[in-house]
């Protein structure tokens, strides 16, 4: 079976659905006309809608809880829990003006942007060197970087905590800015290696003959051509930073230094029975920036996700 013809992964097609298959050339529905409508209803639309509803329900519930008045939250018998006719912004107001939430949001953003930029710079240089300079042992280093990608934070956080303490970085954003790249660099190097390989090296040969240095080639030829890859790497790294929990939980202590995920888990969970509204508002506000970013760059996001697996 191994010699069946395969087409290369077309990442744009994954999301846009406009796959350049033969089906598009003649009639757009492919072979689906072979199935009757009732059959498609049962085998396709029904299971698909169940799965999609389950996947999205927690977000609906998060949003609904964030705008429900307190008495409706806890009295499930008098009010229909699935809807509310009198939304309130009390929880969101409390979140933004009576807590450290804006600080936490800022911390998360600051750490994520700094760590991502550092990692991208390091990864661009490393990926270019591995793919194009092909120094002695480049393949070995590439393999080691892939292995580094597989080392999970949950076995590193204990020794890293002692290292962070030794370097005097404990409880400062620098602790996260310097440790997050260990998660990001292996991933983005691997991703960018894939992109750099697709750039024809005849272009680089021309530039070399014209007397360009490697540095000029990288800045003026390779990087402009690899912009989609850079965006993918940037967005995915940013998301990973925003999502990171265990390092932030271990290395940060003071309330105003925390990042959103850690702060919500630790600071909002008190004995208050009415906490749910602000807790869910906090979770929603912490997710929205990523979802908005994702909405603008869906294709890049998917190519980053599948790119890491592809190589």
């Amino acid at each position: 079976m191994t010699d069946l013809p395969t087409r290369s992964l077309d990442l744009k097609a994954v999301l846009s659905g406009s796959s350049p298959t033969a089906a598009k050339d003649d009639h757009s529905e492919g072979m689906s006309y072979l199935q009757s409508v009732p059959r498609r209803l049962v085998t396709l639309y029904l299971p698909l809608s169940i799965i999609v509803i389950i996947l999205l329900f927690p977000f609906y519930w998060m949003g609904l809880t964030a705008i429900k008045p307190d008495e409706q939250l806890l009295d499930l018998d008098k009010y229909n829990p699935f809807w509310t006719w009198n939304p309130t912004f009390k929880h969101i107001y409390k979140l933004l003006f009576e807590s450290y939430y804006p600080y936490w949001l800022w911390n998360t953003m600051y750490v994520a942007v700094c760590a991502t930029i550092l990692s991208i710079i390091a990864s661009v240089l490393a990926a270019y060197a591995i793919v194009r300079l092909r120094y002695k042992g480049a393949n070995l280093v590439g393999g080691l970087i892939f292995l580094a990608y597989l080392v999970p934070p949950s076995i590193l956080f204990i020794p890293l905590a002692t290292v962070v303490f030794q370097y005097g970085l404990f409880d400062s954003p620098m602790a996260l800015i310097l440790t997050y790249p260990t998660i990001l660099i292996p991933f983005s190097t691997w991703l960018l290696m894939g992109y750099f390989k697709t750039i024809p090296f005849e272009l680089e040969e021309c530039a070399l003959i014209d007397g360009a240095s490697r540095w000029q080639i990288l800045i003026k030829i390779v990087l402009p051509l690899a912009i989609p890859g850079l965006i993918s790497a940037f967005i995915f790294c940013f998301t990973l930073c925003w999502n990171e929990f265990i390092y932030a939980l271990t290395f940060l202590q003071s309330t105003h230094n925390k990042t959103v995920p850690v702060a919500i888990v630790n600071e909002f969970v008190d004995g208050d029975i009415y906490r749910w509204g602000s807790l869910m508002a906090g979770a929603l506000a912490g997710s929205l920036p990523l979802v908005i970013l994702y909405a603008f760059f869906v294709e890049h996001y998917v190519s980053a996700m599948t790119g890491a697996v592809k190589e």
Partner: protein
Amino acid sequence: MAEIALTPRPPKTEIREASAWDQLKHNRNWLGFWFMVPALVFLVFFLAYPLGLGIWLSFTDTRIGRVGQYVGTENYEWLWDDAIFWLSVFNTLLYTFVASAIKFGIGLYLALLLNENMPFKAMLRALVLIPFIVPTVLSALAFWWIFDSQFSIISWSLKQMGLITQNINFLGDTTWARICVIFANIWRGVPFVAITLLAGLQTVQPSLYEAATLDGATRWQMFRHITYPLLTPIIAVVMTFSVLFTFTDFQLIWAMTRGGPVNSTHLMATLSYQRAIIGGQLGEGAAISSAMIPFLLAAIMVSWFGLQRRKWQQGENND
């Protein structure tokens, strides 16, 4: 014109001998080394060194704020007799196997569904990925609220349907707590599996299905003999990643149960956090994390051979 032609041309710059510096500037190994420096600094100081340090710490009795003495394998001997540690190993294996198997099943099914032609295809695909984008901790909090013991929407709905009379104590009962965390993990992992497998599915030539249809193949036969064999390499890689991340999961458990009730959802990662950071026993915690390494190595081996096989299938030089 004449004046211009007569003015002496500026002397040509002489061609110098290539100095040692010039040769060095074009030496691949030398350049490559400098290009690698930033990445290597991070990876050596914050990844390789801590990895070694973690193994060393597991042989000491270090506590927070006190440098430890070498104590040999005492931490491991201690763990060997520790029922809670073995419970956490059991939980981790259960969590990983059950969640990964179901994620694979549903993920593959969802990928096949999304690969069909239908209206709003692009939008559906984008929506499906959202659980993967949202920070795990924040969606875990939503699940915490959905699985609340008193105000759970699931208990309420089941009661309205007349299926149960009492609220289900989702996160307070050991079996239910395990089911709930596994469910939340599946919920978060399915989009990743589905979208990556979908990318793999789109590389399959439609003409193969057309030929099979003409030969009278059923839909199951088409899946079994065309789709599945062509997807195997990508399945191997995706599932290795999935297993690896499930095995070392921390944040979902920490946000939902913190290992409770009675340690029934403690994974090795959460137990090591509890012992090392909350309990202060860095040595013991490091021993628990080091005990995860053999399992991870096994997963990496699988991944490696999966990749090799993929290379072999597609031909060696597919750069």
